[in-house]
Symmetry: C2
Subunit: 316 residues, 2 copies
């Protein structure tokens, strides 16, 4: 019989059992009591895992870049895990499947673990599921974990914002920088990569980025702008070295510790909010609330006043 | 002296004082106690306002289409208000300014009121500020209110999702349909407009949309797909007639009432959540919480367990 006991699976995964590891990540995706148990088991049990977030607009070449960065880690004989964030849309399935298939060139390499993740039952969605998954990978002692997102949206920024080093990938042309800025990526980026840098517009993109950076204030670390042609492997080593430089900066400045603390607090805040929101939804859909609702619908009481009533009654 | 008393301003606005109306919408934008007072004043005081949401990717021609729809309403000698949702990004400011300037062809028409809105202090952001603004416009007896968004994101879907009729504008080419689907617009759309329909790819876009619609299930209303060249005024009357058809459908089927009820409940849920989240943030940043936080940071207690503790203590 197949076991789904988190504790047993974790013990197996620690002995390099990849099937057990995959099952643990399925537990994380599904959420619920088993996922919580897993959080308790892995909390404070993590190793020295370095988390790299890779984000940018669709088509920027993130998967190819990730692919190449995997090779950089492997050339140092270190193991690496990749979490690829899948959107829930069925319509972009094709492209992603293509990416995953391509990444399978590492499929025969037992030092590389690649996993796509989507939001399923997890209360709080990807913003909570991903840190849970990273903790599992850390407990299993992966020295590197890459998180690769598909697009640039609020969820992606939240997910990737938990990384130690955040790489924002762009392509030549103005659109990407505007999108990234709108999504709030400019504030979180630790390094910029202009991929497909042999295309027209690369110089303009660099100039746009430099302008945006000049308009910002930095304490210590100024995000470098690197150029790559990921399909040809050009500029990849420089990207990996920039990640390592950023890591050294985080450690020497003490900022790394601060970031980790902030990350834990953010996670706590999200967990509390998700739980509170669940309770609020329950409260609002409760039959005992029907009379108040009817009063509101008829214009008798406005929703702000009703919200105040509700929160007093429930002393939330 | 200038008065900022919501009650007095509302009375003036009801007598077609547009300056007073603009001030009321500034109060809504700022949020806070005055905005809440305004909600109480306008709750249940609305007239028969029909709310049309217009959304779609940047560059789809939403402003031009809105502009033309204004003319349709005006040709029926009815008054119309437009709320244009501005993103917070300073980098797209130019384009929007251009749109607003262009819409100023209606500036001398006192039957048209155009207002850009951005999130400022309003707790809960645009998703709460916009319904407040609509209620003000309804209390002032505008028979039509158009809400026009700039992009397609979660916020836009939330904002536009509160409309009676939701118009999704696309341009020829595959990208828009995928983006719209990803953002969850396909489920909320009441009618699709393929604008710039003289461009290459219009037929393919229609086919893509039809495919997506075939994959969905509808009860009663199947969103029609209309084609326009808004810059030339082509197809606009058909769009307005489709909006009117949808309105008749909502009324005859009873769905309109259901939607309005759902909208009020959604709003209540958002208000309660915003308030609860504010309290949670306060709680987490409270000095009395430091010891627990330190325990969590050191790996002693996991955030799920701490969240449970927190919610018991505070009985939220």
């Amino acid at each position: 019989m197949v076991t789904y006991d988190p504790e047993q699976l974790l013990a197996q995964a620690k002995e390099s059992n990849r099937v057990a590891l995959a099952k643990l990540l399925s537990i994380v995706e599904r959420g619920g009591p088993q996922a919580r148990e897993l959080v308790k088991l892995t909390w404070g049990q993590g190793g020295e895992t370095y988390l790299v977030g890779i984000t940018g607009a669709p088509g920027a070449g993130k998967s190819t870049l990730t692919d190449r960065l995997i090779s950089q880690v492997r050339s140092r004989t270190l193991e690496v895990a990749v979490i690829a964030i899948d959107p829930t849309s069925p319509f972009s399935g094709g492209a992603i499947l293509g990416d995953r298939v391509r990444m399978q060139e590492h499929a025969t390499d037992s030092g590389v673990f690649i996993r796509s993740m989507a939001t399923r039952g997890h209360l709080g969605g990807l913003a909570l599921a991903v840190p849970d998954a990273v903790r599992v990978l850390s407990a299993v002692r992966f020295p590197y974990v890459f998180i690769e997102t598909v697009g640039v949206g609020q969820v992606e920024v939240e997910v990737v914002g938990a990384a130690d080093t955040i790489v924002v990938v762009m392509t030549p042309g103005w659109g990407d920088a505007v999108q990234a800025n709108k999504a709030g990526l400019m504030e979180v980026a630790d390094l910029f990569v202009i991929n497909k840098s042999d295309r027209a517009g690369a110089r303009e993109t660099r100039r746009d980025l430099e302008l945006m950076l000049e308009m910002s204030t930095f304490e210590g670390w100024v995000p470098p702008i690197l150029e790559t042609i990921a399909t040809e492997g050009k500029g990849i080593q420089e990207v990996f070295e920039a990640i390592e430089s950023h890591r050294e900066y985080l450690e020497s400045s003490g900022l790394g510790q601060k970031r980790r603390e902030k990350r834990v607090l953010d996670e706590l805040t999200r967990i509390v909010r998700a739980e509170v929101n669940r309770r609020v939804d329950q409260l609002i859909s409760d039959p005992s609330f029907e009379a108040k609702k009817a009063e509101m619908m008829s214009g008798g009481i406005d929703p702000y006043s009703l919200a105040s009533d509700l929160l007093e009654i429930d002393s939330a």
